[in-house]
């Protein structure tokens, strides 16, 4: 009997957490349309999460483009298919690599940041202070952050995709003397809306997941400084898992619609 309890305890706490997360996200949809709209805080978060992530996302995208092309080139050369490089790189980056890598980087940078910030606000009673002054901390802290991540992630993914493809072009230009015009002509010739639209839609879900889990972990942070560390850490771990699950579902749904 004890063994059953020991096994069921983590399952029970996992299910409880799923339930709490669902309630937390339900509250977002309830509060998002209500006044007052916290535009100033929303813009501040967009700046923090979007603009300030550009460098990291750009550098990562650039290196991915370079490495991906350098690694694939010899194999394609063996089959005499180097001319397929621009379309192969662009399709794989736009469909999968760009969104998932950018989302994982943002989960690390933005998700942990939100978890730590809200966690420390909870521990130092700043969230309680907002509540007792009769204001709505959920609206000010959570809604603005989730909206900002949801809207900023697609932009960051576009940016990362563009830089990655440019990185790939640089390799092709150096190794194969391919011109800018020819390379990008090849890129756009094989890209279709069916590549772009599903991958763009899923980035909104990625952004939502990053904001939601970061806020959930920080907002419900247990007391103490250790709690802040746990909130930041678990925000990254849970978001990363969730991103792969969303990606899997997105691929399944896309497959149903386009094939």
């Amino acid at each position: 009997m004890n063994t059953i309890f020991k096994i069921s305890e983590p399952i029970q706490s996992f299910l409880t957490e799923i339930g709490e997360l669902s309630y937390f996200s339900g509250r977002f949809f309830k509060e998002v349309g209500k006044r007052p709209y916290e535009f100033k805080e929303f813009l501040k978060q967009c700046y923090n999460m979007g603009y300030q992530s550009l460098l990291l996302v750009g550098v990562t995208g650039f290196i991915i483009g370079l490495v991906f092309t350098l690694q694939s080139r010899p194999t394609l050369q063996q089959f005499g298919a180097v001319s397929w490089m621009p379309s192969m790189v662009s399709i794989s980056i736009i469909r999968e690599i760009g969104p998932i890598i950018t989302a994982l980087i943002c989960a690390g940078r933005i998700g942990s940041g939100i978890g730590a910030e809200l966690g420390s606000m909870r521990v130092t009673e700043q969230i309680d202070a907002m509540e007792v002054s009769g204001t709505n901390p959920y609206k000010f802290l959570v809604v603005t952050r989730i909206l900002a991540t949801t809207l900023m992630l697609p932009i960051l993914v576009f940016f990362a995709d563009a830089i990655a493809i440019y990185g790939s072009f640089l390799v092709e230009n150096t190794k194969g003397n391919v011109s800018f015009l020819l390379y990008f002509n090849q890129v756009f010739r094989h890209l279709e809306f069916s590549d772009l639209i599903p991958s763009t839609i899923k980035t909104f879900f990625f952004g939502f997941a990053i904001g939601l889990v970061g806020c959930f972990k920080g907002y419900n942070c247990k007391k103490g400084t250790a709690g802040v560390g746990i909130a930041a850490n678990s925000a990254v771990v849970y978001t990363s898992m969730l991103l792969f699950i969303i990606d899997f579902i997105a691929v399944l749904v896309t497959d149903i619609f386009y094939n």
Binding site: P36, M121, E125, Q126, A129, M130, S133, G134, T135
Partner: protein
């Protein structure tokens, strides 16, 4: 401090119970705070003082009992009604709880701009912010960030943020804890001057006997989750009960 003429109760707590698992923190606590009164609640660490004050403001949910603030049963209030009521109740946190990503001005503006029902839409908040800061003697700190303030200054700014909503009741959670004796004295004087100027009622949670001596009109000793003894400072300080005496040694 002298006993004020007794006015009608502004807060009434009856048989408040609260437990965490097997740990019974409040075991039927009763209290009345009258208009214009300074009521001090003293108790050892872990005696349930902070839990009681958090139940009072709605940060914790009591297991049973009733809490009435200005004639309203807070356990029966909707969130919006509770938020409106909270504008009439100030709360000074033990750690000040200033929003550390906002300047002093923004800290004070934050609640002000969001209570349009009480204050209307305020185009320029500067006069109200400056007045609140003048009341705590820190009008020059308006553009500073919380990390540039000392512990005593933070406590004063937190009090200014409380005052800006023009509350009828102020709840102080250990207002002098962690401060040096001189700053503690300054905070106590400030609490007195606020009470005299705005005629607020104050509920002060503390284990600082000096603070209680200066500010209390009436005191309650909280022991094992119940109001063990009640009276003026003088009455309790001269009590023969060993549990009461322990506080004043």
């Amino acid at each position: 401090m002298e006993k004020p003429t007794l006015n009608k109760p502004i807060i009434i707590i009856k048989d408040l119970m609260k437990s965490y698992g097997d740990n019974n923190v409040l075991n039927g606590f009763n209290m009345e705070l009258n208009e214009g009164e300074n009521l001090v609640i003293m108790g050892k660490s872990g005696s349930g003082k902070s839990v009681m004050i958090k139940c009072l403001i709605g940060l914790e949910e009591a297991d049973s009992g009733s809490i009435e603030i200005m004639g309203k049963d807070i356990m029966a209030l909707e969130q919006e009604e509770m938020d409106d009521l909270r504008t009439e109740i100030g709360f000074l946190f033990q750690g000040s709880a200033l929003y550390d990503s906002m300047s002093v001005r923004e800290n004070l503006e934050f609640p002000l701009r969001r209570h349009t029902k009480k204050f209307g839409i305020i185009e320029d908040t500067t006069p109200m912010v400056v007045t609140a800061l003048k009341n705590v003697g820190l009008e020059n700190a308006i553009n500073l960030m919380p990390n540039e303030l000392s512990g005593g200054m933070k406590r004063r700014i937190a009090l200014a943020r409380t005052l800006i909503l023009q509350p009828k009741v102020i709840l102080y959670d250990e207002p002098t804890t962690g401060l040096d004796p001189i700053t503690s004295k300054e905070i106590i004087m400030l609490m007195q001057s606020v009470q005299e100027k705005y005629k607020t009622s104050s509920l002060i949670i503390t284990h600082d006997v000096d603070c209680a001596r200066v500010i209390a009109n009436r005191m309650i000793l909280l022991v094992d989750g119940i109001n063990y003894a009640e009276g003026t400072f003088q009455e309790l300080a001269t009590s023969k009960d060993p549990k009461v005496q322990a506080f004043f040694k």
